[in-house]
């Protein structure tokens, strides 16, 4: 697919009509229309609501999940928290490329990346409301009784601050749409400060998610446990973010093409090639990084020992080396198709890695009958959360200037 410059400027409703759209969200007819047009999504929605009622008012965690005293953390942590945060890393990587490193052609990728990150992190917090025993107490670590020795405290504080930063970075999309220009202007003045804060906070919590598992050396398989786990999580989060930006861009291109400006379309392939090169380099480094603790801690024997060895080799070659190669080939041959495939495999690879660390290679001291497997309701909640993210993304992109510049800034670029 060659670079294309087509597309008219997408229609952005003027503020008065924007408020009309928001008002329609209060009208039940809007939702009835939605159910008619999207039956499958509606079923997921209803299933999610039913499980939500069960989780909070009827069965509690026991009636909703397969968690138990041996397996206190399940897929709401492995997937919704660990994968959710890693895959929302596109916010800090894209803003770094466009605003700090000032790379031309990345400007138009910033707003979609921030939207993805903002929704991603917001729904991580939302999913935590389901997992945590007393979710109304979630402000406690910061505002009531800080347990500063805890890695989880650092994760919580960082995520709280970063969601705030993302909300502020995203807000101009909304304030532009509804005509609150002064707020947009104020936030734009703080762009670099917010961006730097975002990168700092992201570095800290992406690595801290790996740090969580340092406290349980007897429970995590030696092929994954190492003091360098936080660093591995941070490095792989960069790949996760960039791959997710490519992945989300590919899907958006298919369903939201009418919302994309000529400038966005013109930059699109350049972003793909830039990220492909970056991901290939980072994955290359990451591949060798994962060998360092094997060599340094003399763990060679584990490489040929049973199913965990197989899992490790599959992760390393199928989901690190392979996308590294595909990104390189795609970049060399300027093939967006190969790059998109590499992105999809990378996204899957992040999920595989986080699942290995938190689930498949965790609690290895348990016997086969004691191992955890998610319940149907747990899966419903995770699917529900992803569906909500997609619906919000679609709504926001459909109306606000995400893949285009807002008309108010016509003269500035």
């Amino acid at each position: 697919m060659s670079q294309h410059d087509h597309g008219a400027q997408p229609v952005i409703l003027p503020p008065t009509e924007a408020w009309g759209v928001l008002r329609s969200l209060l009208n039940p007819i809007t939702y009835l229309k939605f159910v008619k047009e999207h039956p499958i999504l509606s079923i997921i929605f209803v299933a999610g609501l039913v499980v939500t009622v069960n989780r909070f008012l009827i069965g509690g965690l026991a009636g909703t999940t397969h968690l138990d005293n041996n397996n206190p953390w399940g897929i709401w942590i492995s997937f919704d928290l660990l994968c959710g945060v890693a895959l929302a890393a596109g916010g800090y990587t894209t803003t770094a490329a466009a605003l700090i490193f000032n790379i031309k052609g990345f400007r138009t990728a910033v707003k979609p990346a921030i939207l993805t990150a903002f929704l991603g992190y917001s729904f991580v917090v939302y999913a935590l409301l389901y997992d945590v025993g007393q979710p109304w107490r979630l402000p406690y670590p910061v505002f009531v009784s800080p347990g500063t020795s805890s890695v989880l405290f650092e994760v919580g504080l960082c995520v709280m601050l970063y969601v705030t930063v993302l909300a502020i970075e995203w807000l101009p999309n909304f304030t532009d749409w509804v005509g609150m220009k002064k707020i947009s202007h104020l936030i734009h003045k703080a762009t670099i400060a917010l961006t730097i804060m975002g990168i700092v906070l992201s570095t800290m919590h992406q690595s801290s998610l790996g740090m969580l598992y340092l406290i349980a050396p007897s429970k995590l398989h030696p092929l994954w446990y190492s003091p360098q786990l936080p660093l591995q999580f941070f490095v792989s989060s960069m790949v996760a973010g960039m791959s997710m930006v490519i992945f989300e861009g590919t899907i958006s291109h298919h369903y939201l093409h009418s919302r994309m400006s000529p400038e966005y379309n013109r930059d699109h392939d350049g972003v793909l090639f830039g990220f492909a090169k970056a991901c290939s380099i980072i994955l290359f480094g990451y591949f060798f990084m994962k060998w360092v603790p094997i060599a340094g801690e003399n763990k060679w024997a584990y490489l040929t020992d049973g199913k965990f060895a197989v899992m490790w080799w599959v992760e390393m070659f199928g989901f690190v080396a392979l996308p590294c190669l595909l990104y390189a080939v795609g970049y060399r041959n300027k093939s967006t198709g190969i790059i998109k495939a590499a992105a999809a495999i990378s996204v899957l690879g992040i999920v595989v890695n986080r699942f290995n660390v938190s689930w498949f290679a965790f609690n290895i001291q348990l016997r086969p009958g004691q191992h955890y497997f998610p319940s149907v309701q747990e899966v419903i909640v995770s699917v529900f959360v992803v569906t909500l993210i997609i619906l919000c993304f679609r709504f926001i992109s459909k109306y606000m200037a995400i893949f285009s510049d807002h008309p108010a800034y016509k003269d500035h670029h």
């Binding site: 909070f56 008012l57 509690g60 965690l61 026991a62 009636g63 005293n69 041996n70 206190p72 953390w73 490329a97 605003l99 700090i100 490193f101 000032n102 790379i103 945590v132 025993g133 007393q134 979710p135 107490r137 406690y140 670590p141 009531v144 009784s145 800080p146 347990g147 020795s149 805890s150 890695v151 989880l152 405290f153 650092e154 919580g156 670099i192 730097i196 990168i199 700092v200 570095t203 800290m204 690595s207 740090m211 340092l214 406290i215 349980a216 050396p217 007897s218 429970k219 003091p227 360098q228 936080p230 660093l231 490095v235 960069m238 090169k277 970056a278 380099i281 980072i282 480094g285 016997r367």
Partner: protein, 327 residues
């Protein structure tokens, strides 16, 4: 793109070096942490336990009398002796949120796989508890008296303590809509209030398999018992050094792994496992803005210079054209 990745990886390399340096320096000040002096503990002797489960009854009894328990605990035998019958030796039933302790039966290989050995499972009351280190609301406290206690009034229910505990001790009330963590507290509230002299389990044991005392004294006593009958006990006091030392100690006449006590835990206290890595956080907070701010300034400056060069080139070209037109 290469620049960013180089800097990113250089930063990562610096971080690794710093981390390695920091991880070894958890107590760099030279201060060593001996724990509270005169803290109490319990010594369990596996060779004395007959599996009568009176300790479980004693624990239930003393906690049922506690008015702050929302529902009195069920009295034994809610599980009868058949709990010992079906599972294979290494299969251990664990505590759940309705009990603080339980006794398991093992049939260790060391005795030919036919003779039973019983082991009581409860909180180890570590000198440096992993649960306390992991808890992001400081719900756990290592008391000077030795017990590790839980304060439910701040607990959010994240269950990281359950992940962190090397012995997977804390249980959670998954079935409640307002759930809490449940864990043995060595009868700390009852002893400090004077209601009891020793924990409920210790007081109930008819075989003196459980002995209460100051931790230092118990360690001494344990080694004395080991030395008194050479060859009977394993020459090891479990809990003396494991995870930095625990206040609940075990001596056994069969290998500890065969009675469900993990022997691969190491001696590093839990807080030290994360202290070094957490120390990197302020470093990132300080250094990243410097690096990123610097890069931003440099790219801005380069852009400005490039812009000026372009402007200069354009101005010269225009002047040249004008001069040509003028001629």
């Amino acid at each position: 793109m290469k620049r960013r990745n180089f800097l990113g990886l250089a930063g990562a390399a610096t971080a690794t070096v710093t981390a390695t340096a920091l991880t070894g320096n958890a107590k760099a000040s030279g201060h060593s942490f001996e724990g509270y002096p005169n803290s109490y503990g319990v010594l369990f002797d596996a060779s004395r336990c007959i599996g009568c489960r009176q300790c479980e009854m004693g624990c239930n009894k003393i906690n049922s009398e506690n008015k702050s328990e929302a529902k009195p605990w069920i009295n034994l035998p809610a599980k009868d002796a058949s709990v010992f019958a079906t599972p294979p030796a290494e299969d251990t039933v664990r505590t759940d949120s309705t009990m603080f302790t339980l006794v398991n039966k093992f049939e260790p290989q060391a005795l030919g796989g036919k003779s039973p050995v019983y082991k009581k499972f409860q909180c180890m009351h570590c000198k440096e508890p992993a649960c306390a280190s992991a808890c992001f609301v400081k719900a756990f406290t290592k008391t000077p008296e030795g017990a590790v206690t839980y304060n439910g009034s701040v607990c959010v229910g994240c269950r990281y303590c359950m992940v962190a505990c090397p012995w997977s001790v804390p249980t959670y009330q998954f079935d409640k809509l307002i759930p809490y963590v449940k864990k043995c507290h060595m009868c700390h509230p009852y002893i400090t209030s004077g209601k009891a002299q020793v924990p409920g389990c210790v007081g109930a044991c008819p075989m003196e398999a459980l002995v209460w005392g100051k931790r230092e004294d118990l360690v001494k006593q344990a080694w004395e018992r080991i030395g008194a009958v050479p060859g009977k006990y394993l020459p090891h006091v479990y809990g003396e050094h494991e995870m930095g030392g625990t206040n609940w100690l075990y001596i056994s006449h069969v290998p500890f792994a065969q009675i469900g006590l993990a022997e691969d835990l190491g001696e590093t206290p839990a807080p030290e496992l994360t202290s070094g890595a957490l120390g990197l956080v302020p470093l990132v907070a300080c250094l990243w803005p410097v690096l990123l701010g610097g890069i931003w300034q440099i790219t801005k400056w380069k852009d400005r210079k490039a812009g000026e060069a372009t402007q200069q080139a354009v101005a010269e070209a225009v002047a040249l054209e004008r001069a040509k037109a003028g001629k």
